[in-house]
Chain length 497, copies 2
Amino acid sequence: MEKEFTEYVKKMTNINEAVSLMYWDLRTGAPKKGVSQRSEVIGTLSAEVFAMSTSDQMKTYIDELSQEQVYSSLSEVTKKTLEEVKKDYERNTKIPPEEFKEYVILQSQAESVWEEARERSDFAMFQPYLEKLVEFNKRFIGYWGYDGNKYNTLLDMYEPGVTVDIIDATFSKLRDRIVPLLQKITEAGKPDISFLFEKFPKEKQKEFSLQVLKEMGYDFQAGRLDETVHPFAIGLNPGDVRVTTRYDESDFRTAVFGTIHEGGHALYEQNLSEDLVGTPLSTGTSMGIHESQSLFWENFVGRNRGFWKHHYASLKKYAGGQFDQVDLDAFYKAINIVEPSFIRIEADELTYALHIIVRYEIEKGLFNDEIEVKDLPRIWNEKMQEYLGITPENDSQGVLQDVHWSGGSFGYFPSYALGYIYAAQLKQAMLREVPEFDELLEKGELKPIQEWLSRNIHQYGKTKKPMEILEDVTGEGLNPDYLIRYFEEKYSSLYSL
Amino acid sequence: MEKEFTEYVKKMTNINEAVSLMYWDLRTGAPKKGVSQRSEVIGTLSAEVFAMSTSDQMKTYIDELSQEQVYSSLSEVTKKTLEEVKKDYERNTKIPPEEFKEYVILQSQAESVWEEARERSDFAMFQPYLEKLVEFNKRFIGYWGYDGNKYNTLLDMYEPGVTVDIIDATFSKLRDRIVPLLQKITEAGKPDISFLFEKFPKEKQKEFSLQVLKEMGYDFQAGRLDETVHPFAIGLNPGDVRVTTRYDESDFRTAVFGTIHEGGHALYEQNLSEDLVGTPLSTGTSMGIHESQSLFWENFVGRNRGFWKHHYASLKKYAGGQFDQVDLDAFYKAINIVEPSFIRIEADELTYALHIIVRYEIEKGLFNDEIEVKDLPRIWNEKMQEYLGITPENDSQGVLQDVHWSGGSFGYFPSYALGYIYAAQLKQAMLREVPEFDELLEKGELKPIQEWLSRNIHQYGKTKKPMEILEDVTGEGLNPDYLIRYFEEKYSSLYSL
């Protein structure tokens, strides 16, 4: 039975791999006129996987393999796999099919309405759809059940084991320390960053990005770098993990930091244990831990002074003139500029967390009936003013900016900030074993860093839960202190506070 | 029932589209380390389509929809679709599953043995595998049945309606006229072609190729051009038909004529009727008709003097110096050089047919028990000497050169030569409606040519059989006279015979 189950799950995984390749292709150069038919193909294969995950056959496997005597004879990988498919089975079968179908239709309508609403900065247009999306998700929580707080059920989908209690304690501490720090920074005045925006030819940006990716330990025999509009990394299997990036010739940061960020995601997927291939365990364990990897590389490596001590000469060469009059300190300060802004995805590392906290507090309020959808624009703007000191001029700069809610993704946002917190905790743990961290960066030796992350995190895939990874690696649970310390030390020094 | 059947077939078509994308990806830049897992995914999806094509469900559809009263109510597209799936069903279910499994294993073993045998030029190594492959196919013919000649059953897989009798009459006439023509050409002496082999930068070859593709009417909103080792065109759906090519900086002909050739295939797939999408009819009607399209463009357009009268100045510009001392006539003569050679895929348009005839005669002999596998090297070399006047020095230059037989593809080769014959017949028919053909080429106006081909051939996909297309368009059956006349006129003039 274990063998048949393994084959069954492998088939699902294989179909998903085909879907992932189509997704990559659509976003890196698939001809426009083929898109609608390609979307149908994706629909066909996704429906097939969904059907398999909720089939009677799957139920039989789950029931039989869960029997105590059978279960104890299973391999560790099969045990964990069983746990995953069981979770999916329960989540997917508890919603009445008719209701789910209605929800899928609503999702796709809501996405296109949201696009137009954002365009027009017209929240009222989107409001009824968002209300329905929230209603559906509340009903789903009813079907799925919840523990302690209704919102926990949504959080669990992206960050298993993380609850409202944990996040409340963490985020409030973070918020209470970042807000005053940000005020001091704002008062200290802005550094000169004008030199960042000179023309830096795309091809040269690409060469530099490729060089950094290689140093990070990204394996080009198991991946490739392509261009896209909204960059992402995608793991098809550990031997084929692709990075995409976007080039802005008047701001090299988009491609360089974007590639480092996506490269961090890619290293995770490239270094999953081969034993997990063909199972749902062969991917990052959670959104937040995945994000911790991309942010680790982007910020703790890519925005580190030592890293640029090593790379700045090379960047100057590729840029051809742009930085000739700019010394390392001025450059370092510019790429670490902190400045409150409206759009999350354009935010600096310090204010980014505040953007997330705004969203978290709103989502929690919505699912605990403390906030109504109709009040979102006001509440959004109030929180932005309170935490970031700025008020959006319109809703497209505010509550309408993100795609997530239009697709019914609630509970997803916190993972981004959790990624920051994890990353800082991991950095602290790494320093115990790799105390020469800064020196390695100054020498351009990034491989030991990748190896440490692969050994401690990547290889396990989903066999360890996020909190398990965190505790095994750092010896403690979620703790924002390291991130706070990092921010306070770094920005006190940078802004001479 | 028709609706369910249509949905069922659409699902198969959609899965096939995913497989095709994976095939394209593997050949245009998929990372090496992901290949073996990707092959498994292809295996999973192909097996799924095979299972669907031979399922009890499929049998029920076939039986029910074939009932006279039901059948008469079906749409034309469904009728033709039913015919296709029925043919597949019968072909695939008549072979005992165990035997088919054994055959699939043999195929993959034979392919790798063939690779090594060709490398070492050691036919004896490949012989036992080839013997088994022939034996299996003979047994399959037993299961499938045959009409007139056993080899007809194999021919029918690639070129429905074409039989040994038809080909014998056609190929022997062709052979009897080409062989003496080739002798005269060989005696006339070679033109200077040394200027073809100067360095022509890849990027410039690409720009020129793109320009020609665009003029041909290839729609870049429904396709793209990529690099590969063995060029091909692939239709995923009419809105996404991709061309691949290879650049040889010391011989621009590889990319330029290769791109025109694959572009010809691509135009076929881009201009299939939208009504056929989601059915097995949404592709070229046969190997031979497909090849007629690529050869039409490559030879009747791409090797036409008028075409180069228009394009030569542009090619010169892209080449940057290479052709400055070469006048149009010398260039035209060089790109039409005829010279007997050993390797089929490197052959010129005249000798190419002879390469195919050698293979056809051997395959026919094998399946009629007139030739034994062990005698192939000798027979191959004798025929090469007889028709082309040259004898391969070893088997890798001879009987081992092609991959086809190692994969069990017998009956495939004749399509290549049929493609030439069809193309010449189509050209003749086109001239009746587009008498200004040569002038259009001189003016670089290729669009009317594409439109004629799309209107008369492409749009129908598989709804018309090859012979039906031929008769509808030309008013007659297979007739090699037009190709012979084209060869005789062209080469008599070129070589002043």
